[in-house]
């Protein structure tokens, strides 16, 4: 039996040494150590030995098995490494070829800017309000202190529909609808589509605005300046200069046009800012008491501000688009760049 074991050991080590692949080594393992393997068969024969011899031979069998196991283990590891090396050596792809991916989709730049502005204002505690685009004259003009036959109506060329309805010329009627629905405090922004009958390189008959309204006790014009400064800095960069200058809107007083330092030239003066160094981006002001009267708020108890801006203008500045018409031509070669 001892010779048998010795023979087995020598033979096994020899065949392990000459085996060429992991598969062959696995086969050797099965043939020797498997359920029906040679060494297993020998181990089964231990029972027929003398009780005195059994531990010694048993010890020997274990040693031989350990030797074979260890040799096999080493050989398999080496063979595996070799196989991987061979595989890595032989497998080559051209990584310069483009990857496989579905066609890219994009949001319209108007949607992108609306989302960005809404998210900035969400951070300042403003929620989003909406209103109809086909609007009553009362909401679009009268409640906003544009009396009939008032020259201020000339500022907004209006598309009319029958029954005293019109296409809203600004998102400001959402202010009225919101204040009629709820009591202060109010803090909303209202993005939406608006219309004016005007069409050329800088005017589109349909465009978009975002309206903002904050009404509470003790809100000041300085607060308006603060909110708009934070907003423009977030939208255009931390150090964007902001300038408010007096203006007029029937529904705010005091009113302001808000300029930012030209994002193209940094305020030095260029074609885009007409050499002024400033770009007008929004209109704003303190809500006029006349507006409060229309929504049954008491101007002595509360105060607030409103502001409105054109989305197209901001999109054009942000993305350096020079012709507004590109935004509505829907040419995918343009849209896919966003």
């Amino acid at each position: 039996m001892r010779e048998q074991l010795e023979q087995l050991r020598t033979g096994a080590l020899q065949s392990i040494a000459t085996a060429a692949s992991v598969e062959q080594l696995q086969e050797i393992r099965i043939n020797l150590l498997g359920r029906k393997g040679e060494l297993t068969a020998l181990m089964k024969g231990l029972g027929s030995l003398d009780a005195s011899e059994r531990p010694i031979v048993g010890q020997l069998v274990n040693t031989v098995r350990d030797v074979i196991e260890s040799a096999l283990g080493g050989a398999i590891k080496a063979a595996e490494e070799k196989a991987i090396a061979v595989r890595l050596q032989s497998e080559r792809i051209d990584t310069s070829l483009p990857g496989r991916h579905p066609l890219k989709g994009t949001k319209h730049p108007i949607s992108l800017v609306i989302e960005e502005i809404c998210s900035i204002f969400a951070g300042l505690g403003f929620s989003v309000a909406e209103g109809p685009e086909i609007e009553h004259d009362w909401y679009n003009f009268e409640a906003l202190n544009f009396p009939p036959e008032h020259p201020a109506r000339d500022m907004q060329d209006t598309f009319f529909v029958e029954n005293n309805l019109l296409l809203r010329t600004h998102t400001s009627p959402v202010q009225i609808r919101t204040m009629l629905k709820q009591k202060p405090p109010v803090r909303i922004i209202a993005p939406g589509t608006v219309y004016r009958c005007d069409s050329d390189a800088t005017h589109s008959p349909m465009f978009h605005q975002i309206e903002g309204l904050m009404v509470d006790s003790g809100v000041t014009f300085g607060d308006l300046k603060g909110i708009l400064t934070v907003f423009t800095n977030q939208l255009f960069g931390q150090k964007t200069g902001v300038r408010l200058r007096p203006s007029y809107f029937p529904f705010t007083e005091p009113s302001a046009e808000v300029d930012i330092a030209c994002v193209i030239c940094g305020g030095k003066g260029c074609r885009v800012c007409k050499n002024s160094g400033w770009l007008e981006i929004l209109g704003a002001g303190m809500v006029d008491p006349e507006v409060y009267r229309h929504v049954q708020y008491d101007a002595e108890d509360i105060s607030g501000f409103a502001f409105g801006m054109g989305i197209e203008r901001i999109a054009m500045l942000k993305y350096g688009i020079s012709d507004m018409r590109l935004l509505f031509e829907n040419d995918v070669r343009f849209l896919r760049q966003f």
């Binding site: 579905p102 890219k104 020259p151 309805l165 296409l167 904050m214 408010l244 005091p254 009113s255 995918v332």
Partner: protein, 802 residues
């Protein structure tokens, strides 16, 4: 409103440069939209003396001059003949840039050095034509003085964009007043010295106002014996500088005074007025009148006319009449200065499309107290320039003179609202500088009477705005509001809109935005039935063009036009969507509905061209797949896809409507070939449309989540032979109807027609995945369940297993 620097300076003595003044005006709310420096580049064109003049040795018509510019004597070659040694002339030195971008350089002319050019008026842009160079009077100005400064022509033109509330600034004086208030200076108002004749005005002319509600004040003066002539040069230049054409001395004075003080004036040839009488009355409906632009106008009862004893002679506040205008032969003048109500003038001007400097001012409201002051100023200027005698007195019909009410004002309220902390006295000073009458009562309260010309100041808030404006918006500190927390999360509607936009974009779709208005023909191009509700579009009363005259009831036309346009640019692989409102008329008095809709179009290659895969084209199932992705995302269950009653714009065999229960929530299909042709689309297009409002309605907000089974699965495939017209989905429905809880998933994995399958049949391969939540299913169990399902299929659907 155009105004020049020099003109303003006549009324306020400020030190600001033109650039500084522009910034100051803009920050006062009088936005300087453009600035034009007159005489720019002409600083090197100076007054000079011809010290020596002799013949050019090589040219008969040229002379060689030695010209003194005050600092040196230069050689200049000149071709003009109209001057002599010792004359004072105008020298353009090297470096000057004359009109037409003509740069003056040192040069040699026929071998002789020339260091400049002696100029004519034409070369300086001062005249259309000129014979020879300018010869100035001796000692006109010190040698070396820039000529534009010496002639008083160096000036800056400001174009100011006025907001409609600032009618008081539609005059030079008005703007000067704001500058003075800002800088704490006094306005120097023009002084009028009236020289009147002995004849009383009332004995020559008469004025009657029939409609004092529209014309509360009408004043007139009478001048006789004047001579109509061209205006003097200073007047022509002044008017030209702000873009007004000179007519004659009388008309120019009315324009000058209007620009100066803001009061529109009109001069009538008084001899042409019947009975030398003025009657202000409402026009009759259909009354005809020819304005001085020689246009016949049909008037309505709302219009106000100025008449003589017989007929209209002017359209009040808008334009004078051809029948009474000043002519070369005019010798007597009735000069009108009146106040007309803004709304009436605006109505007339708007209806006739006649926008004049006069109507612009009346529409915005002029200063009723200024009527006679302006009249006196204009009348005395006319006498000064056209001669004649002014009748004694002013005929001033002003039946209901009213005083301005005092406005209660709280200085602390101004601080509070603006967010500043100005001293009470400073606030009162600011109002006083604005020519307000401020009264401080012993109890500490303040009342303010604004100046008569500031018709925009009526309320406390108007005064507060003035404080903010004059003190400067730049001095207001930026603060963050201390406010109560109000934060509503986005509505479900808003959230789903945003999520779906993201979902579609992440599925390769590109968002488009089309105009909300479309052409009335769009419905026809979609082959909509005559009674289709989508034909009932809301119409615009005043569309810009017919193609944009109705509000869209469906997003499809815009989508299809966009598709066609992109294809024409050779962008053939398209995946487009639009998520916007449509506009449906309300019932009766109701407001229109504006539901949000989603449409999509797919065409061309599925994944774009590439080296790594066959270039497959999109088909119906790509469009349906997008819809399924949306429905799955929103967890909308129980959806059926029905073929009957297809949308008219889709291929009837390759489209279906999408039902949630019995409610149609959208449709998907290949575009009908006729519609494809109507929209000039080159390639097949697969579209879907979804009713966003219904998606929100059927979307399940709470998803039910189950823990996955821990036991192994087992799959079985069946190939079934079914008639072509039988919907394959029926097989899946039938299997699911068995409600065996061991069926985890059913999937159609192949559909085959052709060799081995009889004509009119298709082979559908279905894979069923079995799995239990409780244990590992035995082979025999699965087989028995599977056989039962197959039997049920063959039984219920009358189909055979292949």
């Amino acid at each position: 409103m155009n105004v020049t620097y020099n003109w303003l300076k006549e009324f306020v003595d400020f030190d600001e440069t033109p650039d500084e003044l522009a910034a100051l005006l803009t920050m006062l709310g009088l936005e300087v939209e453009s600035m034009e420096k007159l005489g720019a580049g002409m600083d090197d064109v100076v007054v000079a003396l011809v010290e020596e003049k002799r013949q050019h040795p090589n040219a008969d018509k040229l002379s060689l001059c030695r010209v003194n510019n005050g600092t040196e004597v230069l050689d200049v070659v000149c071709g003009a003949q109209n001057f002599k040694q010792g004359d004072t002339v105008v020298l353009a030195q090297t470096g000057a840039v004359l009109p037409g971008d003509f740069k003056i350089k040192r040069s040699k002319i026929r071998g002789e050095e020339s260091c400049g050019m002696l100029c004519s008026e034409k070369e300086l842009g001062l005249a259309e034509e000129s014979a020879g160079i300018i010869v100035l009077p001796p000692a006109f100005a010190p040698l070396g003085t820039p000529i534009f400064a010496a002639l008083g022509l160096k000036d800056t033109l400001f174009e100011i964009g006025l907001t409609p509330n600032r009618s008081d600034c539609l005059s030079v004086i008005g703007i000067a007043r704001d500058i003075a208030a800002k800088l704490g200076l006094k306005v120097k108002y023009p002084q009028t010295a009236l020289v009147e004749g002995p004849e009383a005005v009332g004995s020559v002319i008469g004025v009657t106002i029939e409609n004092p509600d529209i014309c509360p004040r009408y004043a007139a003066r009478y001048i006789s014996g004047c001579t109509i002539a061209p205006s003097p040069e200073w007047l022509v230049k002044r008017l030209n500088a702000i873009g007004i054409r000179s007519i004659n001395n009388v008309v120019d004075v009315t324009n000058l005074v209007m620009m100066e003080v803001g009061q529109p004036l009109h001069a009538f040839d008084c001899d042409r007025l019947s009975e030398k009488r003025i009657v202000v009355r409402a026009a009759g409906d259909g009354e005809l009148f020819t304005t001085l632009d020689n246009q016949p106008r049909v008037l309505t009862a709302g219009d106000l006319v100025i008449c003589d004893a017989e007929r209209p002679v002017a359209l009040a506040g808008v334009m004078g009449g051809l029948n009474s205008e000043i002519e070369g032969t005019t010798t007597t003048i009735l000069l009108e200065s009146a106040f007309f109500k803004p709304a009436a003038i605006r109505k007339t001007a708007k209806r006739l499309g006649l926008h004049t400097e006069s109507s612009h001012r009346f529409e915005r409201g002029i200063d009723i107290d200024n009527v006679t002051r302006a009249l006196d100023r204009a009348a005395s200027l006319i006498v000064e320039l056209a001669g004649g005698v002014m009748a004694l007195g002013c005929l001033d019909v002003y039946p209901g003179k009213s005083e301005r009410a005092a406005i209660p004002f709280r200085p602390e309220k101004a601080n509070e609202l603006i967010g500043i902390n100005l001293e009470r006295q400073l606030i009162i000073d600011i109002l006083t500088r604005l020519e307000c009458l401020v009264t401080e009562c012993p109890d500490g309260s303040v009342t303010v009477i604004p100046p008569h010309y500031r018709i925009d100041i009526e309320r406390e808030i108007d005064l507060i705005e003035e404080i903010a404006r004059l003190n400067g918006y730049d001095k207001i500190p930026a603060t963050m509001p201390v406010a109560r927390v109000v934060s509503d999360r986005p509505t479900r509607h808003q959230e789903i809109e945003k999520q779906l936009r993201n979902l579609l974009v992440n599925n390769g779709m590109t968002e488009i935005i089309n105009f909300s208005f479309t052409a009335p023909e769009a419905a026809g191009k979609l082959l909509l039935n005559d009674n289709d509700p989508r034909r009932l579009a809301i119409r615009l009363a005043n569309p810009l063009v017919d193609e944009q005259s109705v509000m869209r009831t469906t997003l499809l036309p815009g989508l299809l036009e966009t598709t066609a346009k992109n294809m024409s640019f050779r962008s053939l692989d398209l995946k487009l969507f639009e998520m916007r409102r449509v506009y449906l008329p309300g019932e009766g008095e109701d407001m229109p509905h504006e539901p949000l809709c989603i449409v999509g179009a797919l065409s061309g290659s599925r994944d774009g061209d590439g080296w790594s895969r066959p270039n497959e084209l999109v088909d119906f199932y790509d469009a349906k797949g997008i819809v399924e992705t949306v429905l799955d995302f929103l967890d909308i269950g129980g959806v059926t896809w029905v073929n009957d009653n297809p949308e008219p714009y889709f291929h009837p065999g390759k489209s279906c409507r999408i039902l949630a229960g019995r409610d149609c929530i959208g449709s998907v299909g290949e575009l009908h070939p006729t519609v494809q042709k109507n929209f000039e689309i080159e390639k097949p297009v697969f579209c879907f449309e979804l009713d966003f409002e219904k998606l929100v309605k059927y979307s399940r907000t709470k998803k039910t989540i189950t823990a996955p089974s821990r036991f192994p699965d087992s799959t079985r495939d069946i190939a079934l032979l079914i008639p072509d017209e039988l919907a394959a989905a029926k097989i899946v429905d039938c299997i699911k109807a068995e409600k065996a809880k061991e069926i985890e998933h059913v999937q159609i994995f192949d559909v085959y027609r052709g060799k081995g399958v009889a004509e009119g049949y298709k082979s559908v391969a279905v894979r069923i995945r079995y799995r239990s939540f409780e244990r590992t299913l035995a082979d025999e169990e699965i087989s028995s369940l599977h056989n039962k399902i197959v039997a049920s299929l063959t039984d219920k659907l009358q189909i055979t297993v292949r």
